[in-house]
């Protein structure tokens, strides 16, 4: 029997009991559309995350550490124990700058702290409630376009040593502290949102903000690393009495720029940018955090390459010199592992629908065989081999699965599109970025769901088909 004939008979037979076939197919539609919708949510979230990380700004960075780093899912980013420890200091920074393809290199300097502003209210000076922010010391050449291009007033510094403490601050942080207008979508009652060029942003320039943070000090100096001292007789001596305390440090910065922080997209603490040298000054107040690399001045160095295509090459070069390196690609890779798990869980939950459909298909096929017993007898009398009868019924089951999957995938896709439009409308209305999406149906998802549904249907059809094939032709011909 030709495959085309088998197709014709299988689909023709489905049309014989239209309502029953429809109901069975509908079960598959529900199952496959649920799988499509759920897994496409996983894909959509992954795609948005990866797209964000893959924005050119991130792709040109190589993070360098004193020790090799783990890139596995469970221990991602942790130093690999037992490896060599390299030194990261200003000399290393200069060394990295000389590597071909490198735009610039600088120590990675970021510190958490409280940001406050003093305002004069009714002739009295009053400090606002503090807001936790991340201070980033960075050379101007390394400021990512995603921040640089978003200044609402003022600009990032052009000289690396401006002679005074300056900062570029995010607009929403200032607004939270009662300064400046709100960003679109963040208006409170009676407020009007401001866009780039609004004079209200300019009023903030020149204003002074305070960063407060704590440092651990010992005898009035930053606490040094632990060192073991041994006496002459080899007996460990008790370390001398230490006076360890935390000291509150306040630094003042003049606002030279305000940037739109609403569309950055990362759920992290707001970033306040200060020149690199000023970041180094804060570092001097603190003890090195990493006891693993006591010789290093810096915990990490950021190397910016000229073009994203050079990142791999530069990473390999630095890696080859014994340092630990990490790029956004490593992060994206490990995010991939997390999303695989997420998609598997979502898919497994949605598969319950298809398991229900499995029983529906098996039931329909058993009914079909009971109804067509005589017909099976006739086909056997006309020369159909058992294998052909079996294949005809398996294909009929597969047709139910395939037809249901095609409709279900299309339905899930369409429903996801609808939800995407709804999400985009909602986010845009609230002042968020354009083009937000949640559901993405990839060709792999569509193909995989189709194949899965067909396999499930075929398995459901195997037993009924086997029963049909082994029918005794004489008995089958006698049946009603």
């Amino acid at each position: 029997m030709r495959v085309a004939d088998m197709f014709r008979y299988s689909f023709g037979n489905l049309a014989r009991q239209k309502l029953r076939s429809f109901l069975t197919v509908f079960g598959v539609i529900v199952g496959t559309s649920a799988i499509t919708l759920m897994v496409s949510l996983g894909i959509g979230l992954q795609k948005q995350t990866v797209e964000f990380f893959n924005s050119v700004d991130f792709l040109t960075s190589v993070q360098v550490f004193p020790q090799k780093r783990n890139t596995s899912l469970m221990n991602f980013g942790r130093p690999i124990a037992g490896g060599a420890t390299m030194k990261l200091d200003d000399g290393t920074v200069e060394e990295f700058k000389k590597i071909p393809g490198v735009l610039t290199a600088y120590p990675t300097l970021d510190f958490g702290g409280n940001l406050t502003v003093e305002r004069t209210v009714d002739g009295k000076k009053k400090a606002t409630t503090g807001r936790f922010v991340q201070f980033v010391g960075i050379p101007q050449a390394a400021i990512m376009p995603m921040y640089r291009d978003k200044t609402l007033a003022g600009a990032f510094w052009t000289e690396e040593s401006p002679g005074e403490n300056i900062a570029v601050v995010p607009a929403d942080v200032l607004h939270d502290m009662g300064l400046g207008p709100p960003l679109p979508g963040h208006e409170k009652e009676g407020e009007t949102a401001a866009l780039k060029g609004d004079p209200r942003w300019k009023e903030l320039l020149g204003m002074e903000v305070k960063l407060q943070f704590s440092v651990v000090v010992q005898n009035g100096e930053p606490a040094p690393k632990e060192e073991e001292k041994e006496g002459e007789d080899g007996v460990k001596e008790d370390p001398p009495e230490k006076e360890i305390m935390t000291k509150r440090v306040t630094r003042r910065y003049r606002i030279v720029g305000v940037y739109d922080s609403a569309d950055i997209g990362l759920p992290m603490a707001p970033l306040v940018f200060i020149p690199l040298d000023q970041g180094k000054e804060i570092l001097k107040l603190r003890a090195p955090r990493s006891s693993a690399a006591p010789e290093s001045t810096y915990r990490s160095i950021t190397v910016k390459v000229k073009d994203a295509s050079l990142t791999d090459q530069v990473q390999r070069e630095i890696d080859g010199r014994g340092y630990g390196t990490m790029t956004i690609q490593d992060v994206v890779q490990v995010i991939g592992y997390v999303f695989i798990t997420l998609k598997a869980v979502l898919g497994a939950v949605a598969s319950i629908g298809l398991i229900v459909a499995f029983f529906g298909i098996a039931n329909t096929m058993i009914m079909a065989i009971l109804e067509r017993t005589r017909e099976i007898g006739v086909m056997k009398a006309l020369g159909a081999r058992n294998a052909e009868i079996r294949r005809m019924f398996v294909m009929e089951a597969a047709a139910i699965g395939g037809l249901g999957a095609l409709c279900g995938i299309a339905g899930g896709w369409a429903f996801g599109k609808g939800l995407n439009a709804l999400a985009a409308w909602f986010v845009e209305k609230r002042g968020g970025p354009e083009g937000v999406y949640l559901f993405v149906v990839s060709p792999w998802l569509a193909g995989g769901t189709l194949a899965f549904a067909v396999v499930v249907a075929v398995i459901a059809g195997l037993y009924p088909a086997w029963r049909a094939a082994r029918l005794d032709p004489v008995a089958a011909l006698r049946s009603l």
């Binding site: 017909e375 009398a381 081999r385 058992n386």
Partner: protein, 222 residues
């Protein structure tokens, strides 16, 4: 089925000549349908051998039996046994589908056969739209589709009125005149006498009489 073993046919020793119109007559339960099922490869005997057109049917595998039914045998049933969801043409094409004949070729052959049984204009009709006589004609056309060595007809006129039965019988005779070997099973002895070149009468699974040997066989085992 069941625990009791029933001997449906016993001590049957026959040679049927090519081109014969051979009849098997007997009452209900005489074993004539079993005879036809054995000959058609639908059933297998517990003992003995059957050879058709030089091919040994007994002892063949399930697949070989299917091939045998497909290539050597044509069936005509009392109940017509047409597939209700298929048109007359598709029903006639069915054995050719299992024989992997190309669609154009099998369509041509089926159309010719339907013309031959006088149903060319009704080829697009489904069985439910045809009369009993017409349905049996479609079944006859189907049985000839694979140009079988033997045509097995099980009470082909049993469900038809006498006028329609006569026309179907005439059609079978015509097929036989064209060289087709036909084995007809019927309870209607006068019909067998009228159309068959030779016939046997079965009773309780044994041959009671054979028209080729005028004297009745002595009761076997007596």
């Amino acid at each position: 089925m069941g625990d009791t073993l029933v001997t449906a046919l016993d001590r049957l020793d026959l040679d049927i000549a090519r081109g014969a119109f051979f009849g098997v007559v007997g009452r209900s339960g005489s074993g004539k349908s079993t005879f036809l099922n054995l000959l058609g490869g639908l059933d297998t005997p517990t003992a003995g051998t059957i050879e058709v057109d030089g091919l040994k049917v007994t002892g063949a595998s399930q697949d070989s039996l299917a091939s045998y039914r497909r290539d050597k045998v044509g069936f005509i049933f009392q109940q017509f046994n047409l597939i209700q969801s298929q048109t007359a043409l598709q029903n006639v094409e069915m054995p050719l589908v299992f024989a992997n004949v190309a669609p154009a070729e099998r369509r041509k052959r089926a159309e010719e056969l339907l013309d031959r049984v006088g149903l060319g204009p009704r080829r697009k009709h489904r069985p439910v739209e045809l009369s009993g006589g017409e349905q049996q004609r479609v079944a006859i056309a189907r049985s000839l589709a694979n140009r079988p060595a033997i045509l097995l007809a099980d009470e082909p006129t049993g469900n038809l009125d006498s006028a329609t039965a006569a026309s179907v019988t005439e059609l079978l005779k015509q097929m036989n005149r064209d060289g087709q070997t036909i084995i007809l099973v019927t309870h209607d002895r006068p019909m067998a006498e009228a159309v068959c070149s030779r016939f046997i009468e079965l009773k309780d699974g044994r041959v009671l009489s054979d028209s080729a040997t005028p004297t009745p066989q002595p009761a076997a085992g007596a």
